[in-house]
């Protein structure tokens, strides 16, 4: 029995990656949930908004690198992030002006809005690929590892290594700051409060003098900021590929629905729940159990519930279970 090594292996292969992934999903789900709360439709284009935002950040990163600007130990992409957010905000505001606003004025049913967002999704997807191509792009520079597996082994004398990448810490810290800023905004500013009011009761908000177009615009800007940040963190952590963000849509939707659509806290909890489930169900526990099992009893198989190719099935299964048993999500959201 070697509890310490088992714990380190678990930390290294499950906890740390899942936490970083969870933070990325949480940011993505916050965007979806916010748009749902205010505009009252599930925005299928959110994944591709993330892709577009990340593509903009990558372009800006290249620009900054060419100018010789760097953020020292941090990835240059962090400096490029505000530029990417601004570009993405312009795109989504433009989309709202040209597409969504028309349907909003028509008081189109939510299903119609969803279909419209699917159309927007295809356009954005094409736009992103047109701008930056379909290939995988790595754009993380700066310090790669805060703790490397080799150093860890040497320092602790354990046989199991622990690696902590700079991007993982960056992801969690940035996501934490974003979430803090968002909640501060929603709870302490007049505009944030009017967004909550609008989400709670649209008719009353209008009759209380709240300008709907303004609330909608602010919502899009925040959604763009969340999407770009989430997409960039995901791209730094793994790699950027336009199509990956389309695939992320499922876990992100699952996270926001599990947490209760329209409920920001729920989106965060949902993000981590999905990430932990996905990573732990697709992780081969052979090694961890090998450390824990008595001599001679080590498992022979991989002890993996589901191979990684099927990781999206996890989100899907969780989604189905939640919809069946608690359609408003774990935290009370609007029912879907």
């Amino acid at each position: 029995m070697d509890i310490l090594n088992a714990f380190v292996a678990l930390l290294n292969y499950v906890m740390i990656p899942a936490t970083a992934y969870g933070a990325q999903l949480a940011l993505g789900a916050l965007g979806v949930t916010l748009v749902y709360g205010i505009l009252r439709f599930s925005n299928f284009a959110h994944g591709d908004t993330m892709a577009f935002g990340t593509a903009m950040v990558i372009l800006a990163t290249w620009g900054l690198q060419a100018l010789g600007v760097s953020a020292g130990p941090l990835p240059t992409a962090l400096l490029a992030l505000p530029l990417g957010i601004a570009a993405t905000a312009l795109l989504v505001l433009g989309t709202d002006r040209t597409v969504y606003r028309f349907y909003r004025r028509e008081k189109a049913a939510p299903v119609v809005m969803v279909m419209v967002s699917v159309g927007v999704m295809f356009v954005m997807n094409g736009l992103t690929r047109f701008v930056i191509g379909v290939d995988e792009i790595r754009f993380d520079d700066g310090v790669r590892f805060l703790i490397s597996a080799r150093e860890f082994k040497q320092a602790t004398g354990l046989s199991e290594g622990l690696a902590l990448r700079g991007t993982q810490v960056l992801t969690v810290v940035t996501a934490g700051l974003m979430v803090w800023a968002l909640f501060w905004f929603l709870n302490h500013t007049r505009t944030g409060k009017s967004m909550r009011a609008y989400s709670d009761n649209e008719d009353l908000a209008l009759l209380s003098g709240i300008d709907p177009e303004r609330v909608v615009a602010v919502t899009w800007i925040i959604a763009a900021a969340l999407a770009t940040t989430a997409g960039t963190l995901y791209g730094l952590d793994k790699a950027f590929k336009a199509f990956n963000y389309f695939h992320l849509l499922l876990p992100i939707f699952a996270a926001s629905i599990v947490g209760g659509l329209g409920n920001p806290l729920g989106a965060i909890a949902g993000g981590f729940l999905i990430a932990y489930s996905e990573v732990s169900i697709t992780y081969a526990f052979k090694k961890v159990l090998g450390y824990l099992a008595p001599e001679g009893w080590e498992p022979e198989g991989l002890v993996q519930l589901l191979s990684t190719e099927y990781k999206f099935a996890v989100s899907f299964a969780i989604l189905v279970v939640v919809l069946l048993f608690r359609p408003t999500g774990i935290f009370k959201g609007k029912s879907v």
């Binding site: 007049r190 909550r196 008719d203």
Partner: protein, 260 residues
């Protein structure tokens, strides 16, 4: 003054408001009565910008306001309450009231940071005002309750409270008294009279309780089937044969006179 000119609002082939014309004089407490389905709430919805009219015009102090959005009308000082009380259910009663005066300095993200002192001061004033309103309506003890948890009558009071948070010019009340007990109804009636006298609010009040209407309102407008049937003082209205037939019935007149 509000002037409604030959207003129509149709739902499909159904004429909910069918050529209504009326005037609400500045400084009055005008009553609007009529049988269920007469089109009273629909008329309110059109005036308040919730519904677009099929045809016709709405004027406010000589300026056309037909089809303006509710938030634009709000900033012109035109407020309304809902027949079925609306509230921000996930906010407390006090927060509900503090939500109302929507145009303030806390508006941009920029000055949310830079003008924090001024905003804090405004918030403090708002809070004081909200507490005064709650006192006035005798529901101070509910201030930290989530508005969604209030009873139907309490929500009605909150609706009235919303209109007291700003300096409104004209307030449309859609059955504020429905579901409210008699004592509270008197309180509401007193509140309306006081707001009218002390703060110069003009009111247009829909109410089925004829005692309430007779006590408060002059003139009274009677609607039936989307049209204005009669208009005049409460006494005058209660004498009107057409009104008695369409709405009051013969028994009621004697009762009100006996009470009055």
């Amino acid at each position: 003054m509000i002037r409604v000119e030959n207003l129509h609002r149709h739902f499909g082939g159904f004429r909910a408001v069918d050529g209504a014309s009326l005037e609400i004089q500045t400084g009055s407490i005008t009553g609007l009565i009529g049988p269920n389905g007469a089109g009273k709430s629909t008329l309110f919805n059109v005036i308040a910008g919730v519904l677009k009219p099929t045809s016709g015009r709405v004027m406010m102090d000589g300026e056309e306001i037909t089809g303006l959005a509710p938030h634009e009308l709000f900033h012109k000082g035109l407020l309304r309450t809902f027949q079925i009380a609306h509230e921000f259910s996930s906010m407390t009663v006090r927060e509900n009231l503090m939500m109302v005066p929507a145009r303030q300095s806390g508006e941009t993200l920029w000055n949310a940071w830079t003008a924090r002192r001024r905003i804090a001061q405004e918030e403090a004033e708002l809070l004081k005002k909200a507490d005064e309103v709650l006192d006035f309506l005798t529901i101070s003890h509910l201030r930290d309750e989530l508005a969604g948890n209030l009873s139907g009558g309490q929500k009605k009071l909150l609706e009235l409270g919303r209109t007291m948070m700003v300096d409104a010019k004209i307030v449309f009340l859609d059955e504020v008294g429905a579901g409210v007990n008699r004592t509270l109804l008197n309180t509401i009636g007193d509140a309306i009279v006081r707001l009218n006298k002390e703060r110069g609010y003009t009111f247009c009040v829909i109410e089925h309780d004829m005692d309430f209407i007779a006590r408060l309102c002059d003139p009274v407008i009677v609607m039936a089937e989307g049209k204005v049937l009669a208009q005049g003082s409460a006494d005058h209205i209660m004498e009107n044969e057409a009104v008695i037939e369409a709405y009051l019935g013969t028994g009621l007149k004697n009762k009100v006179v006996a009470n009055g």
